[in-house]
Symmetry: C2
Subunit: 318 residues, 2 copies
């Protein structure tokens, strides 16, 4: 089967909203008047971002989910994406479920596949996603103010738990592992929350490399520090029944990575509006601390005393 | 060196025209009023699109050039691009010349690096490029009419010649090889020509997989056939002194691939306007035949008799 047959068979569909979709040298996009186009590109490599054991359908989902998560972190509404795919072989048994997982998530967010590239090579998935956001309303990393509350959406740390089980570093009861694995393989991008937080959050980032590491990008861009409350952070994992020590639970929640939740800041005066945005997006959020004018991040216990635990941060070259 | 240091060191520069560049979850782009955004994504894999012996500086050039060539084929003006890079190791001795070659070509076209991703993995370069084109004026593959002239810009077949020498299938004098190798490793995207052909050409495509194969996309999209004149095609190679048989020369020119020239169609009544566009873009073009209402492609000799030579077409899964 040739390259062009492959593309047509699994990925070509009638163009919906894009001016021109798959099948020309370029796709054509037309942002609505007053809108800026938000663009993000993520590459997934076997062994770094997914395991060879992953179900292709889940991988298709995840490849787009991590990109939609970047749009969410900017408060952008998904519009379209391109897919570049290097494959060891043109394998329909792999491509069919992969494309189904990918396109099901795309359809759920009205995000249209408009172009791409297919080539032979070590398995590599590169997606570039496009969204739109009203001019001046994008959520940036640089907008946090000293004294802002810090919030996290959903649950974090579970993907890391699944990874540790896969690596043989931990053993978990089957139901805990199943729950954690679903979080690792099929993350939920917080697209509705990102849009609901426009004009409410002062800064936002999505959690891909670990909560503290990604929060660090906001703090650096905003020239701030932060104080994180360990008791709140201890409740962040979805797998509440996992047999973990408090130190492990805190490490996974604060430095786990691969969660694709949003971390955002908003002033205490906006707590009511945050509550409204959260209700509108039908997502839970947890307030885990606040930003500080003094640099550095402290994780403090219930008495406000700094913990001496150190937290790792995932680095794709670490 | 960590991922983020790498990005900053070699790729982060002050934002020019994009609303927001490298360093947030998304880049923000704002097409000018009345403009559509043209988007294309190409992935380059070692062994398929470049050889391990390539100079990183040339590779940086080529990785962007093949994407700019897609914009050229749509008549779009380059604006910005994202770069996703998988590398076996974070190697400054490779990254520095790679980024120099990449950014030199980007600067020459006013095309700004606005975001991307870096990860460890088998060497893979995925660029998504953004351009703008006045609404309704993009050059599409589907616009050719029966009886249109078919043109090719610049020279084609030389990249294939270099590849055959690298593969040990051919021996060439050093000066021929040097010339051919430059064409393979540092193609020139025909960005100015693409823009000059807006409203003049009826259809266009860039030559990546071989002239006849890529022309075939135009013919299929436009429901046409074509008649190609072998005497004209024989003059398409830049390496005029290469010791090749006429059959080899024709094969390389018509099915070589990796040329990144433009193939376009325009009615005979537009020959004067084509001449004007070509002069404006300071590129040579060759008229090599015409489209036909009857399907299929014939390559004919000086007497109008069909050749019985068959031409291959490069397929990334072939």
């Amino acid at each position: 089967m040739g390259e062009f047959d492959l593309i047509e068979r699994f990925f070509k569909r009638p163009v919906q909203r894009a001016a021109l979709g798959v099948g020309d040298d370029c796709a054509l996009l037309q942002p609505a008047p007053g809108m800026q186009l938000a663009v993000s590109s993520d590459m997934l490599v076997e062994g770094r971002h997914f395991l060879s054991t992953v179900d292709p359908r889940a991988l298709g989902h995840k490849a787009l989910a991590v990109n939609l998560s970047d749009l969410a972190a900017c408060g952008a509404k998904p519009l379209a994406f391109t897919l570049a795919l290097a494959l060891p072989a043109a394998d329909a048994a792999w491509l069919e479920p992969f494309s189904q997982g990918l396109l099901a998530l795309a359809d759920a967010h009205g995000c249209e596949l408009v172009g791409g590239d297919t080539t032979r090579g070590p398995l590599n998935i590169c997606i570039t996603v496009f969204g739109e956001v009203p001019r001046g309303l994008a959520l940036l990393r640089s907008g946090a103010q000293a004294g802002d509350d810090i919030y996290v959406s959903g649950t974090v740390g579970d993907a890391r738990l699944a990874l540790e089980v896969f690596r043989g570093h931990l053993a978990m009861p089957q139901e805990v592992f199943t729950q954690a694995r679903a979080r690792m393989e099929q993350p939920t991008p917080r697209v509705a929350l990102g849009q609901a937080l426009r004009g409410v959050a002062t800064a936002a980032v999505d959690v891909s490399d670990g909560l503290l590491g990604d929060l660090g990008h906001v703090l650096k861009a905003s020239s701030l520090g932060a104080r994180i409350e360990a008791p709140a952070a201890l409740g962040l994992m979805g797998c509440a029944d996992a047999p973990l020590s408090p130190a492990q639970r805190l490490e996974f929640a604060l430095a786990g990575g691969d969660d694709y939740e949003l971390v955002f800041t908003a002033p205490p005066s906006a707590r009511g509006r945050v509550k409204g945005a959260v209700a509108q997006a039908q997502v839970q959020v947890t307030r885990i601390g606040s930003t500080t004018a003094a640099p550095g991040v402290q994780v403090v216990d219930a008495q406000g005393q700094p913990l001496d635990q150190r937290f790792g941060s995932f680095d794709h070259f670490g």
